[in-house]
């Protein structure tokens, strides 16, 4: 492989390894802790479980946003071409979202097998006969299979990674003015969307006339967003 | 050889002088190899190009000669030439001003000669 590509990958990998490991250790730890506690304290009457999808969305957003400051200036300084950076970053974000989806749902499936109970959704609290649960998006829509959940988490994760990466780029290149300005613009669009009702219609469409392909489309949207970021990267300079 | 070079005069001249001094006072004997430009550069922490310039000038003036693949060497002829040159410089730099200063102070040639023969130096 091209030495520069290899170097860029190596750098990104080394950089991302730490937050990735720490995140999963903490998350996994809390998960085991909550399972353990529920057994220790209340027996099988009250059970708490939760799905790991939501945290990885947040993780994706944070990592995407910080990616700009952590990786890009260094790569430019060391002489990598911006096209190279663009390719490597894109691939890394995709791989990251897939990895996150896989780890999250594998852990979840494992916990299910080990504890024997079938836990539904994002989290479930069962006390006696009553149960409170906040379900995973997949439950709303279709079968709760491992593969479905991975696809959903990957696509949402990537969409968030790409969007926040773009946001991070905007902040980096145009400062607070550009960054908050963009956010304000988005907010305005959203408000308009609600007012004009087409946003509500869109959401309605997602949840009623729904196909699984939505998530593939979401993934593609993420890619489009990422392609837009190339425009910002082309003449990027470091401060 | 000088211990250190300074930034106030062209380095190649200082290198030249340093080598010339060594030849004259016998530190560098006839037939002996002169340190290479890299060795000089390392010793004095100077740019090798300036050391090279000094050496090249000495070679051009035939004071040292180059043996291909081996290095620069002191020649008998070169040493003689150097001494001659230095004697001439000595005359211009020391003797002429000496005589002019002596004239200013009204010191005669005999008195000057006596001074030269005086013990203690």
């Amino acid at each position: 492989m091209d030495a520069q590509l290899k170097g860029s990958f190596y750098y990104v990998l080394t950089n991302t390894k730490r937050p990735f490991t720490i995140f999963w250790i903490i998350l996994g730890g809390f998960m085991f802790l909550s399972y353990g506690m529920s057994y220790l304290f209340v027996g099988s009457e009250t059970v708490v479980s939760y799905d790991l999808s939501f945290p990885i969305y947040i993780f994706g957003a944070v990592l995407g946003f910080n990616f700009v400051k952590n990786c890009i200036p260094y790569l430019i300084r060391i002489g990598s071409s911006r096209t190279n950076i663009f390719l490597v970053t894109g691939l890394s974000l995709i791989v990251l979202s897939i990895l996150n989806g896989l780890v999250a749902n594998t852990l979840y499936g494992l916990m299910n097998k080990i504890s024997g109970e079938v836990f539904q959704g994002i989290f479930t609290i069962q006390t006696g006969n009553e149960s409170y649960s906040f379900t995973h998006i997949s439950d709303l829509i279709m079968e709760n299979t491992w593969f479905n959940r991975v696809v959903i988490d990957t696509s949402i994760g990537f969409f968030l990674l790409a969007s926040f990466f773009l946001l991070g780029l905007i902040f980096y290149r145009y400062g607070y003015i550009g960054g908050f300005g963009t956010l304000g613009l988005l907010l305005t669009l959203m408000v308009f969307g609600i007012a004009k009702e087409w946003l509500i219609d869109f959401l309605k469409y997602i949840f009623t006339d729904f196909h699984f392909t939505f998530f593939y489309q979401l993934f593609l949207t993420g890619i489009v967003i990422y392609l837009i970021s190339y425009l910002l990267m082309r003449r990027l300079t470091i401060d | 050889m000088k211990e250190k070079l300074d930034d106030r005069r062209p380095i190649y001249i200082q290198i030249k002088e340093s080598i010339e001094d060594s030849i004259i006072n016998g530190t560098l004997k006839v037939g002996e190899r002169i340190p290479s430009t890299n060795e000089l550069a390392k010793f004095y922490n100077i740019n090798p190009a300036t050391a090279r310039q000094g050496m090249n000038e000495l070679a051009q003036e035939n004071i040292i000669e180059k043996q291909r693949g081996v290095g620069m060497f002191v020649t008998e002829r070169g040493k003689d030439k150097l001494l001659e040159h230095r004697k001439q410089l000595f005359y211009e730099k020391y003797v002429v001003p000496l005589k002019s200063e002596a004239a200013k102070l009204h010191i005669s040639d005999e008195q000057l000669f006596d001074m030269l023969k005086k013990e203690g130096n």
């Binding site: 030495a3 520069q4 290899k6 170097g7 190596y10 750098y11 080394t14 950089n15 730490r18 952590n70 990786c71 260094y74 430019i76 300084r77 060391i78 002489g79 990598s80 071409s81 911006r82 096209t83 190279n84 082309r234 003449r235 300079t237 470091i238 | 070079l5 300074d6 930034d7 106030r8 005069r9 062209p10 380095i11 190649y12 890299n38 550069a41 390392k42 004095y44 922490n45 100077i46 740019n47 090798p48 190009a49 300036t50 310039q53």
Partner: protein, 290 residues
């Protein structure tokens, strides 16, 4: 590799950091880039290394523009005063990353230097002292073996012994493999003997580009009585004069011919002082070669 600077300008809002600078560098030498704080040196070096874009004008390396140009940039290495590395990375990862980006990377040299400077390779950059971080910068700059290696005051925190080690290494590497080294420094006296050519920037303009030996020959001071000095400096380029009672010292740029005939005391002016005199506000500069 040849570097051609063509009317290079850089503005930040109202300030002109570089103002139509033009010059050329053709041969691999050790170049000293000097000037006071704010003269534009760092900005120039950043543009050369592709970190910044000019406002107008261009820099050409082998007739190509270095910005975002991989084939050129893998032969340019810029080490700055600080902030050269991602602080979260371990030293060994930094070295590995650089080794992949610079095709002529000298692994053996890097290892030797790491040991010489006693750099803890398992430590993160942010755990290093300032001096250690600078040592890492210097190691990377030397081991990169880039055809154009640029050092922008890379020695913050390096003690005198460490700096000396750096200069020794620089010289040794330069002798083995001549390359273009651009060195910007405030500690001019320490390295002035290494310079082959000197460039001086002032207020974003290039005021001097000369061979170092030429400067050593043509920068001198004469000291004597006021009358003697004034008589001598009649048609000379005087950078500065100082006076005490009836004694005067004049700092002159030009040939020393004729000074032996006078009774004036002559001394050479080291490059550091030369830079100071030439970059003082109000010094006449029309006569300068640039």
């Amino acid at each position: 590799m040849n570097i051609r600077v063509d009317k290079l300008s850089k503005h930040y809002r109202q300030k002109k950091v570089l103002n139509e600078v033009s010059f050329q560098i053709d041969e691999p030498k050790i170049y000293g880039l000097l000037g006071r704080n704010g003269a534009g040196k760092t900005t120039f070096m950043e543009i050369l290394a592709g970190h910044q874009l000019p406002t107008s004008g261009e820099v050409y390396v082998n007739s190509e523009i270095p910005f975002d140009n991989r084939s050129i940039l893998e032969h340019i290495c810029l080490i700055k005063e600080g902030n050269n590395f991602n602080r979260e990375l371990k030293v060994k990862h930094v070295l590995k990353t650089y080794s992949l980006f610079y095709p002529n990377w000298d692994e053996a040299l890097a290892n030797t230097l790491v040991q010489e400077y006693k750099l803890p390779i398992q430590a993160k950059v942010k755990a290093l002292s300032k001096g250690m971080e600078s040592a890492l910068g210097v190691i990377v700059g030397l081991a990169s073996n880039a055809f154009i290696t640029i050092f922008d005051e890379p020695y913050i925190g390096l003690d005198a012994a460490a700096r000396k080690k750096f200069y020794d290494m620089l010289l040794e590497q330069y002798e083995e493999r001549p390359r273009t080294i651009i060195f910007s420094t405030h500690l001019i006296d320490e390295v002035s003997l290494l310079f082959e050519e000197v460039l001086i920037l002032q207020n974003g303009e290039l005021i001097l580009q000369e061979k170092a030996e030429m400067l050593r020959e043509n920068a001198y001071s004469v000291t004597g009585t006021k009358e003697e000095v004034e008589a001598f400096i009649q048609n000379k380029h005087v950078m500065k004069t100082k006076q005490l009672a009836n004694m005067m010292t004049a700092y002159i740029f030009g040939s020393q011919v004729g000074v032996e005939q006078t009774d004036l005391n002559v001394e050479g002016v080291p490059i550091q002082d030369l830079m100071i005199y030439l970059t003082e506000e109000g010094v006449e500069k029309e006569w300068m070669p640039n």
